[in-house]
């Protein structure tokens, strides 16, 4: 209101110069953006609140079949008597397994690939690879999903799943090749270009003279690079990992294509079967329930899932920020792009 009043006054006597007005407008825009974003967070948590209140902490626990619970929740919308009973553990476990698996594998692989690319690869190969990596980093996830569902899933079904395995679990889950293994594999291919491109940027930014100093002291090339460049580029390693983890955590489309449609918690005690068991994560659940938004209890349940995802991703950026704090004395590399 105050701003508007001052504008009315403006016509008579310019209380604000053009410059100050511009600053006010920009400030208002920025405040608007921040308020809108924060309001969104509040809205999502508020919409999910009924589901949390009805279930308490057992929302995060296991118990019963998650798909049957979701069906009951969706149907209860029409009957007028809302049902909220929901145990999300299988979905949380699946999200954790796929994300952690893919991030761990692709971190190790990406680090070595980045080191190779920056220091050891022949120059023509570097020139060729760099644009390819950037292209792969921006390939839409649905294309990875397509490759997964048309190439990897049939491969797993035909070569890794025996009839005996299939019959042993028939009453519980279908083994169609849509599996944890396929999900982790495709997710790894999806996020490692992102990691590699940020790692490479960080490693490139390390001053050449630091490496030369190390080599001049008689340390061999591998050890110099590993102990000087990789250590200096730690902020970039963290940025890349956080960004890639956020991608993996929120990936819905690709995982719902290759991970299967069954809400099931793969059990490591099953031995080899563990890898080919289907599982559906939190994000994929929201996507696959998109016909049921009309049912109020379902809506609240899905918003509760969304709130958990949002909270995890906020915590992820926060921990990335916290981890980078002690490294402030290093220059900040790989902060802004991608």
């Amino acid at each position: 209101m105050a701003v508007v009043d001052e504008f009315l006054l403006d016509a008579e006597e310019p209380r604000f110069s053009e410059d100050q007005r511009a600053e006010l407008w920009l400030g208002a825009l920025v405040c608007g953006v921040v308020i809108a974003l924060l309001a969104m967070v509040v809205f999502i948590v508020a919409q999910g609140w009924p589901s949390f209140v009805h279930n308490g902490l057992s929302w995060f626990a296991s118990g019963g079949k998650v798909d049957a619970q979701l069906t009951r929740i969706a149907q209860s919308g029409a009957s007028g008597k809302a049902v909220y009973t929901f145990r999300a553990w299988p979905l949380i476990w699946s999200t954790f397994l796929t994300t952690a698996g893919a991030v761990v594998i692709s971190f190790i692989a990406s680090l070595f690939v980045a080191v190779f690319m920056v220091e050891f690869a022949p120059v023509p190969l570097q020139r060729l690879l760099e644009p390819v990596i950037r292209l792969l980093a921006s390939v839409p996830s649905v294309i990875y999903g397509l490759i997964g569902v048309l190439v990897v899933v049939p491969f797993i079904f035909h070569h890794l799943i025996s009839n005996q395995m299939e019959t042993s679990v028939t009453p519980v889950i279908p083994l169609s090749g849509e599996s944890l293994l396929a999900a982790v594999l495709i997710l790894t291919f999806m996020i490692s270009p992102i990691m590699i491109s940020i790692f490479v940027e960080g490693l490139r930014a390390v001053p050449r003279s630091w490496l030369e100093g190390s080599i001049a002291l008689g340390v061999n090339r591998w050890r110099s690079f590993w102990n000087v460049a990789v250590l200096t580029a730690r902020p970039a390693l963290i940025s890349g990992t956080v960004l890639a983890t956020a991608r993996a955590l929120g990936e819905a489309v690709m995982l719902s294509m290759v991970g299967g449609t069954t809400g099931f918690a793969p059990n490591p005690a099953d031995g080899l079967l563990f890898f080919v068991e289907p599982s559906r994560g939190l994000a994929a659940t929201i996507l696959q329930q998109n016909d049921n938004f009309g049912s109020a209890p379902m809506k609240h349940t899905l918003f509760a899932i969304a709130a958990v995802l949002l909270f995890s991703s906020l915590m992820l950026s926060l921990s990335g920020w916290a981890a980078k704090q002690p490294m402030k004395r290093y220059f900040n590399v790989g902060g802004a792009t991608a």
């Binding site: 110069s17 410059d19 511009a22 600053e23 920009l26 825009l29 920025v30 953006v33 921040v34 974003l37 969104m40 999502i44 919409q47 692989a109 070595f112 690939v113 080191v115 190779f116 690319m117 050891f120 644009p131 390819v132 292209l135 792969l136 390939v139 839409p140 649905v142 999903g145 397509l146 490759i147 569902v149 048309l150 190439v151 490692s192 590699i196 061999n220 591998w222 590993w226 956080v242 956020a246 955590l249 929120g250 819905a252 294509m257 449609t261 994000a283 929201i286 996507l287 998109n290 938004f293 969304a306 949002l310 991703s313 906020l314 992820l316 950026s317 920020w321 902060g335 802004a336 991608a338």
Partner: protein
């Protein structure tokens, strides 16, 4: 001979690389070459499959009902949808993003507010798109936003180009902000001071000196943002309606289309994968190669503008 004149000579039994170092180097080569092979496999596979199934007429026919994959038309409506929805998202994200970035670098007072803005925008860079999509589904069904989509008996449908574009702009916003900020920060202070010395006000300096100088960064941010927007599927599936052709609402040309529903290339691929509703893998491959070509073009623009930004040397 070294500078001091003392000869440098390695002892005859100069220590060979330790086993650990040799293993590390070997592993780096191995993963590096493996990665090259996988890259090549993915790119070659997609291009081969795409070229096998892509027919030129798919680019200018709409999807239609047919008995087999030769009769079901192409994906003109999806290409238009991709362009329209990306345009809508960028029209929102770029001005807002540039505004936020300018405020953060050039004003940024009070300091506390600036830190809040910075961290909020940065945190949203990692927000899962499915969460944003779910938020959009509920918000755009609200009565006061009903004019943005089709309405049936007073109920807002909530799915339209406006809805999808508005939510997608949230994906592009942090990227635009980060890139424009970086571009503005790279401009040394004496450029600003020179402008002030000529009697220009701060806002004129920003508009006439700083933003033109930072143009390559603005373009880079916009194009990287566009890449993310084009590639997103979850928001499109939830917010653009499930029609495979452009269904305009009302008769005003562009506005009607923007209020209407459609699919994009990503949601078309999703629907045409074996897990989707249409299940026509050949069409999915063809659409994937078109989408890949779009992403490739965007990448080239990013490369060119990035090179321009680096060529701008301030002294």
């Amino acid at each position: 001979m070294s500078a001091t004149g003392a000869p440098i000579h390695l002892p005859a039994d100069a220590p060979a690389w330790r086993l650990r170092d040799r293993l590390g180097l070997a592993f780096a080569w191995l993963t590096g070459l493996l990665f090259c092979a996988v890259c090549a496999a993915i790119v070659v596979f997609l291009v081969v499959q795409g070229v096998r199934y892509l027919r030129p007429d798919m680019l200018w026919t709409n999807p239609k009902v047919g008995f087999n994959q030769n009769e079901t038309g192409g994906f003109l409506a999806e290409i238009i949808g991709t362009v329209l929805v990306t345009g809508t998202a960028l029209v929102i994200a770029v001005p807002v993003g540039v505004g936020v970035a300018v405020w953060l670098t050039e004003y940024g007072r009070p300091r506390g507010l600036a830190r809040v803005v910075e961290s909020t925008v940065e945190m949203f860079a990692g927000a899962p798109s499915i969460v944003l999509a779910l938020f959009g589904v509920i918000v755009f069904q609200a009565p006061f936003l009903a004019f943005l989509s089709a309405t049936t008996q007073g109920h807002a449908y909530g799915k339209s180009f406006f809805a999808a574009g508005a939510i997608l702009s949230l994906l592009a916003l942090p990227i635009v902000v980060a890139n424009v900020r970086e571009g503005l920060r790279a401009i040394p202070d004496h450029v600003r001071e020179a402008s002030y010395a000529l009697g220009k006000t701060k806002i004129t300096t920003i508009r006439r000196v700083l933003l033109p100088a930072a143009r390559p960064s603005v373009i880079t941010g916009t194009m990287i943002g566009a890449g993310h927007v084009i590639g997103d599927t979850a928001i499109i599936v939830l917010l653009l309606g499930d029609t495979y052709t452009l269904q305009a609402v009302g008769h005003i040309p562009l506005l009607g289309a923007l209020r209407g529903t459609d699919s994009t290339l990503t949601s078309f691929i999703y629907a045409n994968a074996p897990t989707g509703d249409l299940n026509q893998p050949q069409k999915a491959y063809a659409a994937a190669v078109v989408l890949l070509a779009m992403v490739f073009l965007l990448n080239i623009v990013v490369d060119i503008s990035g090179r321009k930004a680096r060529e701008l040397k301030w002294t």
